[in-house]
Amino acid sequence: MAKRTVEVELSTTGLDAQGRPQRVPILTDDGGGGLALQAPPAMEPDLDGEHMLINIGPQHPATHGVLRLVLELDGETVVRCIPHIGYLHCGFEKIGEYRQYNQIICWTDREDYLNSIGNNVAFALGAERLFGIEITERCKVLRVIASELSRIMSHLVWLGTFCIDIGAFTPFLWAFQRREEIYRLLEKWIGARLTTSATRVGGMAADIPNGWMDGLRQFIRTFPHTLDEIDRVLTKNAIWVGRTVGLGVMSPEEAINWGLSGPMLRASGVDYDVRKDFPYLDYETYDFEVPVGTNGDVYDRYLVRFEELRQSVRILQQAADRLSDGPVNIDDPRIILPPKSKATSEMESMIHHFKVVMEGPRPPIGESYFAVESPKGEKGYYMVSDGTAKPVRWRIRPPSFVNLAAIPKMVEGHLLSDVIAINASIDIVMGEIDR
């Protein structure tokens, strides 16, 4: 249960003692028969300090969605960065005020769409706090499996696209191949790949089908091999290290003050993980470690997310071992739909079915803020109820929105090409930022 710091060891040739990429010195004849270091080339003359205005996005493959950055450049160095967001704004929070709680779950899919099933779980947990429901043991374990599968999926997309941004193509293919397996598992379970809508207030939309756990166990068994492969080609690769070390550094104090969360915060050396510090779904009973970086740069964010993949596999293994038989949904006809066969044959079940569908479950007056550790960071759902079937306010605390707000600070002083690497290291999803 103890939290662990992953020591960042850099032992690649081409790096100095501090882990910075080192230039191979070019030696020239010093005229006396010996060799001498060549003088560094003179800097290009300053073009009267003239700055340049550069626009990246909103339609640009390296901005991971419709993000637009307006940059002021001095030569190739970024002087100022002005981000523009909102191109994908759909008013989710407004729409949520006109929907019943179970209907909102469909909207949570579309917000952080790389982590759709994780959002479903988070929203259902928040709504259950508001309703005062205790879910069943089997449902808890299934939700842990869902959350961790979704964390692996999201991190694999991040890893693949980050590699492409930096110029490595192969790990992208490996990562997406494994992600496809998770999608197939989800399709068997829920019937959908991306827009899962897997949870309901008080339970799940469906129990896992027969033989599903075999597929999961096979994935748990084989997935670490892929991780080892990617680890082997990336982690000590001098190009990879050279493109990521020392970029976008945030100190722990800065990271906390800027509100960073998730791997961004942990890479800066703060071991805040909602699963450990404000646990839910009995996460305190699972044995896993929280990787923490010590340099707060892009490379540390890569290491932290990479280690999280391994830890998620550990959690999945434990969850698969402890999954017990029993009901998935709570036994409350005011909240959970009756089985279809009963709804069409028994009067009472039909009434319950009608009430749940047409009127929707009603929570008592109150409010709750439920935060989970999403792959991007602390994702919170704040719901306020006035006793009716629709929330007065449904607020999403979007982790990548707050993380992205720090991009002007992180890119200033770096090169234009590093902006892409730093932006990729934040792991943004515009669907969540704009909502």
């Binding site: 939290k3 882990g19 509100g259 510090d277 109150g366 602390e378 006035d386 909502r435």
Partner: protein, 231 residues
């Protein structure tokens, strides 16, 4: 490269492992000790304390928001160093005032506190910004302004963030704003088509590298006649 000391959460908390909350009661769970400390320190500025579903809500006087949050951030016995969220709530009942909500976390103590300030009916929607305490308030307050029209005084750059700057329909999350927007679809389309390419940049951005001076004469004339720019 400098290495950071790892910051441990819960370092100031008594040695207890946090566990999943079970059987949380609707009202009457134990309040966060910070609520008592706030009442002792600020007296009448703390209007009331509620505990809903195990979460402590402190209602404070809107005029003392900045002082209270500054104290919560700075005081050694509180250390609320992490601002999770800034948002607002407007109720369907028009009699209930709009609430501004701050969700604060203390990482060293592993505490969570919700601070609320009610803006009385009929008063301008204005409240102190906590930007100088938490930099994370930057975009969160901008979003709150964008969606509710609450002005955070002291915020250095309070402008719309999700909607574009020329957006004229109002503040979308207010209850008097219809779900489909105030303008008709054709009017929304007409406005979108009427936008000029140079209007994609704010005046501040156009000042970079003398971009404004290089615009065609006709565009410059339009912009200097007060046509709004920026998104």
């Amino acid at each position: 490269m400098s290495r950071f000391e790892v910051v441990r959460t819960g370092a100031s908390a008594p040695a207890s492992q946090p566990v999943t909350q079970k059987g949380v009661s609707h009202r009457g769970a134990e309040a966060n000790p910070s609520a008592k400390a706030l009442q002792d320190k600020f007296g009448a500025a703390v209007r009331r304390v509620e505990v809903i579903w195990g979460e402590t809500v402190v209602f404070i006087d809107p005029a003392s928001v900045h002082d209270v949050i500054r104290w919560l951030h700075d005081d050694e016995s509180q250390r609320y160093d992490f601002l999770s969220d800034v948002t607002a709530v407007e109720y369907r009942d028009a009699e209930v005032p709009i609430e501004v909500v701050w969700h604060l976390r203390s990482l060293p103590f592993r505490r969570f506190l919700r601070v609320k300030a009610q803006i009385p009916k009929g008063q301008p929607l204005e409240i102190a910004s906590v930007y100088d305490i938490y930099r994370s308030a930057d975009w969160l307050e901008r979003e709150c302004y964008d969606m509710f029209g609450i002005r955070f005084s002291g915020h250095p750059d309070l402008r719309r963030i999700l909607m574009w700057e020329q957006y004229k329909e109002g503040f979308p999350l207010r209850k008097d704003f219809p779900l489909r927007g105030r303008f008709s679809r054709s009017e929304q389309l007409r406005q979108a088509l009427a936008q000029n390419p140079e209007a994609r940049y704010s005046m501040e951005e156009l000042s970079i590298a003398d971009a404004f001076a290089e615009l065609p004469e006709e565009m410059r004339a339009r912009l200097s006649k007060g046509e709004r720019t920026g998104e």
